[in-house]
C-alpha cells in the first residue's frame, strides 16, 4: 500500500502540498470573511435599521420620564408640563436636562449626538378642534432635514396645570428625534 510512485489516485506522496493547500484554503476563507464582514454598505433606502433603533431608544427615554417614581406621585414629564407657565417659552430647562441625559449618555466616555424637539398637542373642548402645537422644549439645535423619528407619550393632566388650556385634558407629547 502507498509508497512513492504508486499509480493510485490516493497515495501518501506530496503530503506537504496537501497541507499547503488546506492552509491556503483556510487563509483565503479568513481573508474573504474579514473583507466582506468589515464593509457593510448602507444605502439611503436602508435607514430602517437605524430608524428602528432610534425609535426604540426615544420611546424608552420618554416612557421613563412618563413613569412615576412611586405610586400616586406625578411623573417627571407630568411635573415639567404642569410647571410650564402659559406663554410657553419653548425651552423647559428641567425636562431638557432629563431628556438629554437619557438620550445621549453612553456607557463609556463621550456623549451621543441626538437632538430633539418636543411639542404638546391638546384639543379645545369647546370647539372640539386640535389646537396648534405648544413648543415645549428643544435643545436649540436646528433641524436640517436629517433622518428623524417621532415618538409619543400620553399624559393625563389634572386640575393643577399652570396652563389653563391644559387643565383636565389628555394631551399628546410628541418628540422629534434625530442624530446629527
Amino acid at each position: 500500500m502507498g509508497g512513492y510512485g504508486d499509480q493510485d489516485m490516493v497515495n501518501d506522496s506530496a503530503q506537504l502540498y496537501t497541507i499547503e493547500g488546506i492552509s491556503a484554503a483556510i487563509l483565503m476563507l479568513v481573508t474573504a470573511y474579514l473583507v466582506i464582514s468589515s464593509s457593510t454598505i448602507i444605502t439611503p433606502q436602508e435607514t430602517h435599521i437605524t430608524d428602528m433603533q432610534l425609535e426604540q431608544l426615544g420611546h424608552d427615554a420618554l416612557l421613563v420620564l412618563n413613569t412615576p417614581k412611586e405610586y400616586g406621585t406625578p411623573s417627571i414629564l407630568y411635573q415639567c408640563i404642569r410647571d410650564d407657565p402659559p406663554p410657553h417659552s419653548g425651552f423647559n430647562a428641567a425636562f431638557n436636562a432629563y431628556f438629554t441625559q437619557l438620550l445621549n449618555t453612553r456607557i463609556f466616555s463621550g456623549n451621543d449626538s441626538l437632538h430633539f424637539k418636543v411639542q404638546l398637542y391638546h384639543r379645545d373642548h369647546s370647539s372640539g378642534e386640535i389646537q396648534p402645537p405648544i413648543d415645549f422644549t428643544s435643545d436649540g439645535v436646528g433641524y436640517f432635514r436629517e433622518n428623524a423619528v417621532k415618538v409619543t407619550q400620553w399624559v393625563k393632566m389634572g386640575s393643577d396645570a399652570s396652563d389653563p388650556d391644559l387643565k383636565d385634558k389628555i394631551i399628546l407629547v410628541e418628540a422629534l428625534i434625530w442624530r446629527s
Partner: protein, 118 residues
C-alpha cells in the same frame, strides 16, 4: 510534446471547493443585510408602542374607579388626537366590569376585552 502533468489534482480540487465555499459564504453575508432591513421594516410598521401606550393610558383612567373611563371629554381627547396625529381609530368603553379596547390604523387591528377581577 510534454505529457499533461497529472500531479496536484487534490490541490486543484481543493481550490474549487474553497472557491465554492467562499461563494456560499458571500451569499449568506449578503442575505444578512436584507434580513436586518426587512426585520426593522416590519418592526417599524407594527404599532407596538402605540397600542401599549393606549392600553397603559386607558388602564390609568380605569384605576380611578371607572369614573375617568366614562368621562366623555377624555374619550374625545384620545380619539381626536389619535385620529389626527397618529392616523388610527380607537375606541373604548366598559360594560360594568368588562373593559373593551379597540385600535385600528388601517393595517393593524387590535381588540381587547379585559374583565376586572375583584
Amino acid at each position: 510534446m510534454a505529457k499533461l502533468n497529472e500531479e496536484g489534482q487534490w490541490i486543484v480540487m481543493m481550490g474549487f471547493i474553497v472557491s465554492i465555499i467562499i461563494f456560499i459564504l458571500a451569499i449568506i453575508v449578503a442575505e444578512s443585510a436584507l434580513v436586518g432591513k426587512t426585520t426593522s421594516e416590519s418592526v417599524l410598521e407594527f404599532p407596538k408602542t402605540d397600542i401599549q401606550d393606549l392600553r397603559s393610558l386607558i388602564f390609568q383612567l380605569k384605576s380611578n374607579d371607572w369614573d375617568d373611563i366614562v368621562k366623555q371629554s377624555y374619550k374625545e381627547d384620545i380619539q381626536v388626537l389619535f385620529f389626527d396625529r397618529k392616523n388610527a381609530i380607537v375606541s373604548y368603553y366598559n360594560d360594568s366590569r368588562i373593559l373593551f379596547i379597540h385600535y385600528n390604523n388601517g393595517i393593524t387591528s387590535y381588540n381587547e376585552m379585559h374583565e376586572e377581577q375583584y
